[in-house]
Symmetry: D2
Amino acid sequence: MNGETKLKAAVLGASGYTGAETVRLLSGHPRVDAVAATGNSLAGKRLSEIFPHLAGPTDLPVVKAENIDWSDIDVAFGCLPHGTSQDLIETLPHHVRVVDLSADYRLRDAALYASTYGRPHLNPARTADVKYGLSEWRGAELEGEPLVACPGCYPTASLLALLPIISLIDSDSIIIDAKSGVSGAGRGLKEGNLFSEAAEGAHAYGVGQHRHAPEIEQELNLQAGRSDIGVTFTPHLIPMTRGELVTCHVRGDVDQIQTALEAKYANAPFVTVLPLGSPPPDTRHVRGTNNCRIAVYPDRVKGRVIVIAVIDNLVKGSSGQAIQNLNLMMGWDETLGLSGLQALFP
Amino acid sequence: MNGETKLKAAVLGASGYTGAETVRLLSGHPRVDAVAATGNSLAGKRLSEIFPHLAGPTDLPVVKAENIDWSDIDVAFGCLPHGTSQDLIETLPHHVRVVDLSADYRLRDAALYASTYGRPHLNPARTADVKYGLSEWRGAELEGEPLVACPGCYPTASLLALLPIISLIDSDSIIIDAKSGVSGAGRGLKEGNLFSEAAEGAHAYGVGQHRHAPEIEQELNLQAGRSDIGVTFTPHLIPMTRGELVTCHVRGDVDQIQTALEAKYANAPFVTVLPLGSPPPDTRHVRGTNNCRIAVYPDRVKGRVIVIAVIDNLVKGSSGQAIQNLNLMMGWDETLGLSGLQALFP
Amino acid sequence: MNGETKLKAAVLGASGYTGAETVRLLSGHPRVDAVAATGNSLAGKRLSEIFPHLAGPTDLPVVKAENIDWSDIDVAFGCLPHGTSQDLIETLPHHVRVVDLSADYRLRDAALYASTYGRPHLNPARTADVKYGLSEWRGAELEGEPLVACPGCYPTASLLALLPIISLIDSDSIIIDAKSGVSGAGRGLKEGNLFSEAAEGAHAYGVGQHRHAPEIEQELNLQAGRSDIGVTFTPHLIPMTRGELVTCHVRGDVDQIQTALEAKYANAPFVTVLPLGSPPPDTRHVRGTNNCRIAVYPDRVKGRVIVIAVIDNLVKGSSGQAIQNLNLMMGWDETLGLSGLQALFP
Amino acid sequence: MNGETKLKAAVLGASGYTGAETVRLLSGHPRVDAVAATGNSLAGKRLSEIFPHLAGPTDLPVVKAENIDWSDIDVAFGCLPHGTSQDLIETLPHHVRVVDLSADYRLRDAALYASTYGRPHLNPARTADVKYGLSEWRGAELEGEPLVACPGCYPTASLLALLPIISLIDSDSIIIDAKSGVSGAGRGLKEGNLFSEAAEGAHAYGVGQHRHAPEIEQELNLQAGRSDIGVTFTPHLIPMTRGELVTCHVRGDVDQIQTALEAKYANAPFVTVLPLGSPPPDTRHVRGTNNCRIAVYPDRVKGRVIVIAVIDNLVKGSSGQAIQNLNLMMGWDETLGLSGLQALFP
């Protein structure tokens, strides 16, 4: 890469987990430098005071977003909560490409956004048009895009498993039972996320009403050319930090499903479809990587199939996929900065 | 209880977790004394050498089963692996009542037992007759029984949730997605149960072929007066020690389901049906107790309902229910020795 | 206990962990009923809404302290933060006995209190006089006391190990290296106590300046008849919820130390001195109980000895010892309400 | 590195954690390829069957050591248990450089080896001569060496903290209180390492007799030009997978100690001495990296100082330092293959 100019990136909301993870991953990217990190309440500190693991070459001062000189920035990673994210993104100058990790530009239908997230969208026309950055599905389409919306962590795992088979299964009986580590809840201070209350136990949450369900349905319907597919989506919080596992209960033929998944991801660098009969994939096997592993199992009840996918919610489920999307937006090899990541085990 | 003679109990297989838990719980029982503990490889040690938390009044020497003087024993708790359990139980003198925690007498159909557990049953006629001790469903029927088979941990939670509503739901689309702590795997030495390999991750196991599925189906069919109900049962191992959570995805009417569950368990001392709209039950809230908590949620997809149940796999899922069953066999108050247990939180 | 009137207890600060644990433990006490629970921000809720494991007979409405009718209360358990605790305790009518779990009445020297806790004491004369409730050391002295100060969790474990041997060891080279579970930090919302930041790691804190050191020194000096003993006290936060382990590095003779400890606690119901050569005590073996286990080891360096003590920080380290102290204040058997607690293992 | 020939490495004992970690780390090394992996009981499997996270380019067949064609191997990483390690290493042809991670060549005194490890050394003359590869202390001395012994995990952290200050402190009162994650115990199957028995608790082990103490003393004495320094070394097992923290209690002057540590490691790429007054280092901040962080604290007792060091036991404490040592043996930049590692947080 000698002689090439690197892109200059700003990470918006660097004091949260996805912000910190984006900074961490960018430090290994050959064509992008993280040069600015924003935060509100923590502005004035250095990133390494908030996240000591970012000491050294990855360290940056945290500044308020309004103090960034945007003329010097090529790309912004939006790691802010929904709402706050669009409030800032809509003010950015046009030359700044944006990879948004929030929910703000994922739903094409602004009315659905408003009912799901409890506030009207600032720019309904734009959200209707923004590309939904499930990297393996949009690929080259993302090249040149000014703004890409990164999928939620649950939709990433769920859609990677279900999109290739939506035409092969009974789309009216899809059940997604999901399990997530606590880092998925972010760095917000809630009793339920304290070690003493999250360790040694498990519970469902958002049962029947989680915000990721409409996002999953939007993409399944789009792929199926329908508008009425509804999914049951039941997430659970389990006592681990990173990792997400989705167990999809569907009806169809196990061999057709396996074949379709293998065909779709034959050349995908980050998605592995395990051979039939493999031991079930474990979130440990993808921890710290941008990988997704998918496996298919016949149920003992004829005609039912279980499709399981695992990801690291902070990498493929957010910051890693965001970088993969930037690579695609720039027309680069999609693995830049991500191919060297190895799962930490044990 | 002054003046009364206490029952003398032997715990068979006291060097495993359910054996140790049975000893622990019996120490608080007003009408039963644990007087003998068997073990093979550890015979000759004291229980407190294997399990230091059992030092003190609960301590016992571990002896080989063949060295027990059965004339002195009133009741035996079978805490052995399946197979080994029937091998011993079939040799016991008739005056010894048996509460078996293994799988050996749960399936009425000896052929199904053989295909599920990989060996023929020693006593097909007996297993066809033995009462299946899901305490809240057999209750007074257990009085006077010489042998009761305690349900598996997953069937306990699943059946408590599903039996009361089997006639109200589409019995051909039942999906049970279960999550268990690692103690459910017992004390056997396997790499996957090492801390370094079980912490910080999650995976499914036994997908489509877990041995608890036939047991669940047997009881659902019996209750429904059918023989062809099949269930999808997908268990997951998650990084906690105790606790089990089953998420049942069913089709039916949420209010009918809530009403049926409330009616069934209105007077059950150990089963609580949470009011509609409650936060989801957490395994922490029942840890160390014989309690089961059940909650019902409408799905966002019309006509689908999520029923969640949590138990402590080592108490209500095994040793606690075993004691509850002994109480019922003796015609005692079913809460004896169990009512004082309080969930340890945090 | 038939026919006897039970004491009526108020738990002040029931929305924290020591408050909840006090309510939980009192529910098994034969001569005390928890009848009131106070909380400020959570007043108006029921205790079971904050702590679902307290649903049922242990449930209580949370009220503001100013709304308690004290004429109806016999004893108050102070489970408030230091400072807040004395502010309330100093206003209570004289007939209310107080067991204070905070740090407010532990230090006899009000100047030391002020420098350690950053505020002047409201009642210096009183704190100079209040009995320091390390139960095994004050015992019958507590009978009839109107107010007893319960030791901190670290001082409890450290002093149980060191007080019996202070005259046998080099009192100028005592080093206490302590490890605590996260529940010791309480329910306060800090990033460092989030599951994602406390799991899978360990760190020291308060190095060279923890507030429990002056408390430990006060009692060691008192016992030794000196005033200049200083201790090195270095606590660590480790990824477990309950449990505290102190490793005391001292100089002395291992047999003398073992003998002194055994002699002191020969009849103590809650303190066990393990025989020389025992496997090291584990916090799991006392989890959920009021027990302390102590073990002594010769070092490979001649003349050095390691004394290890383990407790459950929320029981013997706070709420359990508080109840033990109330028993002593009332002249009752000190084990009332505590003898049935069994360690939860695994 | 284009055009250069890479070294070919064999990993001996690839079915344990340090073996797997060596394979993982080598996959990012620009001048070394892992081309062979040995194992006994698992020979015939692929590495990815044992460690699914090693699927892909890092995968290798596991073969018996006797089936390796050594003419094709440049370097061997010994990841075997002590004893087994020397049995194999002593048979290797001379052209094979060896980096041994076991304890077999760490102690110069074969008699001390025999008494510590319970068997005579095969090659006493060799062990007296082998370089002890604490990388930051041997550095260029390692260039050209045919065999280097990598320090144990505890000695690595302890010596990095103590060697630079041994002349500044009272060398007769050194106390090292250490805490380790469970992966330090390896992949061996013992009840105490099961998740259910290692989670939610802590205990000391090897008190007064751990095998790493002689190793620490050997190096301290060598550096101090003495032979009689003895250390108290008390390790603890805590419920995390990776990470090691040593708390060194010493007597000396805090400023002198800080200055000496800063001076020693001013140019060390992997060792960071935190400024005085920093928050205590956390094992999370070095997890997955070859880094060591050291911090110094004045005690409240005058003249006492606490020096804390944290490492990842599987990286700087074993496989990472092994690769650093190979780099030094080859005269390469010591950071090759290690500089890109980033701590995984949260």
